[in-house]
Assembly symmetry: none
Homo-oligomer: 204 residues x 4
DNA sequence: TATGAATGAGTGTTCATTCAT
DNA sequence: AATGAATGAACACTCATTCAT
């Protein structure tokens, strides 16, 4: 709360933003502390006044990412709208959040990689587990109220989360894909399915 | 003057397998040439008799991966079965192939990361583009013959590819997820949708 | 924000001097970056703060050498003294310069070797060409004014340059030879010749 | 004397010739055993059946070079011609020998470098000392018989040797120089001098 | 607080040499 | 004798981290 704190916090943020831009541009592995310092317009040594290590920068980036996600998750948990609408809102919110901060989105590949085995204590898996839990719950509600098929469970939630992340992945690998326009197709496919609905009629 | 008993191809394969195991265990970035050599039970220098560089190992791993994918893609292109069945077969084939070679699957994160920014000429994006093309074509056929909704396009294909890869991702981040059992849920969601089919009736 | 007390130029010079000492002692090929760092009393990595590569060290040594040569050449070009005296001054200056910096002289062998085949852009040949040009010009002047035989050309200049460098070579291979005392013999031989002047008389 | 011996000797010679060609082309330091084996059209391991080590190849090249030199030296020592003619013959012989085996000449730089400090027991210095001794002796004889100035000593011999080697050096650094035509200019300069002979007359 | 010079552990790669065939 | 696959010591170079100023 002291002005110092605020300054310090702001400085830290600046550096983190610079780091995220650098990571987004060349990937974490290829990014040097020097690159981050240059991007932030400060000396290399100063980075260490705000972050313990190079890995800590990626950790902080993860935390920023996780915070955005928590916000989206909280909204999905709280809302009083019908469950399918909340699912729709969730999917839109995730993709909108990333569209609005493309640099943060572009480090997803690094976060996924770092979220493996020992290195960083960076729990991407836990984040996706939360998404699955929320969606599983919403699907259950939707099933209960008759707007979704009955008997839906975590695996179906996994598919929805997968569709979102898988579309992000394809966009990361090929930025020409219009990620911000993928929310509706994702929802269309997952909610309505691709099979012809008039099958019984057509089958006649 | 003897043709030398050594089968270069087989030796190369052995080393590549060792490399894939190492990469799967600790990730490409954290893997040292020495690790690969030890895993293969040979000297460090010998790796270079079969691969030009450390990167070349990841490249070769990609090629092995891409070869498997091509096989799956070719089958999806050739088959004479109804389009929705071929889509089903495709999804099953992809997940089965990776279940059967989990180490190859576990390097997906590295292949995705390497598929960025010039470093390696490793075209993961092109691979997914092929999946999208095949699926787009199959959806069009299905639409034409009435088994799928009309008007389906590449975006819907993108969602299916995304669902597959997104489920793989979740498994990679949390190996407790039963990836080999996700084919059916993926198909269930994507083909049938999650919404209640009797909606019109229920909607009154 | 302090301009840092470190004088980059001076530091660079220190390292270069250390490198020259090391090269002089064991030859460039046998000299390790670590040797240079140790000789300079700094860490290995610090060498790279001032030089791009090991080769760059030899390059810089060449430049130092070439700068000394340019100085000598410039003096030979400018002076208004009689041409034979300027040649004499040139020979003395070359040998004195090298006597005064024996370490710089001792890397001549490396500079000659490096001046071959593309590796380094280190133009020893050009340096000697300059010496030949200057001497050719001075011989022509001397011929015109009658102090030297008429009809002298570049080949005679080549012989003078050769005599200098060849004496240096013999000294480098056998340091017991008194290089600093060779200027007069070189001039004596080249100017006066070894043949007996009274040959016609003596020939009777 | 056994046919085996002869074969072995011939094989050794072939490999040495190949090595000399390779060294001449890229310099000893940049030459790999593999290069030599390829040039000789044999397997890498086979080189070691005839030479103990890579350095031994350069040593053998030196010995070949030294043998040629010994031949030239012997002729200079034996002949019964007037001393100045024998000096002339010596200079011509040295340059002719090298012109006729340019590859052997081109490794001079490497021989000079190797003839330094410890590494190889390769005595270039001793070779040049022999030339100096022979020339010193011939100059003394010439002085005694009145064809050369009296009072000539080892330093004058050093200059002659220097002129030869220095011209070779310039040719090695710039192959456009016509080394085979330098014998006469060298002799002209060293025997007749460059100064105008009619100085006393002109001085009047 | 801020800096950037200094460091040295770490690693990819090379290549002379060995040796089983 | 001949081979070339295998080896591992050696080394140039990088870069995260430290610390004196």
């Amino acid at each position: 709360m002291t002005p110092k704190r605020i300054d310090r916090q702001a400085r830290r943020e600046e550096i983190l933003d610079a780091a995220v831009r650098v990571f987004a541009r060349k990937g974490f592995t290829a990014s040097r502390i020097d690159d981050v310092a240059n991007e932030a317009g400060i000396g290399k040594g100063s980075v260490y006044l705000y972050f313990d290590s190079r890995d800590a920068l990626l950790n902080a980036a993860f935390e920023a990412f996780a915070a955005r996600s928590q916000h989206v998750l909280d909204q999905a948990r709280r809302g009083g709208d019908p469950p399918l609408e909340r699912i729709s809102a969730l999917v839109h919110a995730v993709l909108r959040a990333l569209s609005e901060e493309p640099d943060l989105a572009r480090i997803l590949l690094d976060l996924w990689s770092a979220g493996r085995e020992g290195d960083l204590p960076l729990d991407m898996a836990g984040l996706y587990a939360q998404y699955r839990t929320v969606l599983t719950e919403l699907l259950a509600q939707a099933g209960a109220e008759g707007s979704a098929r009955p008997g839906l469970g975590e695996r179906h939630a996994t598919v929805i989360v997968g569709a979102i992340e898988g579309c992000l992945l394809q966009w990361l690998l090929d930025p020409r894909l219009p990620v911000e326009e993928m929310a509706d197709p994702i929802l269309d496919v997952c909610l309505n399915g691709l099979r012809c609905r008039d099958e019984s009629q057509a089958g006649r």
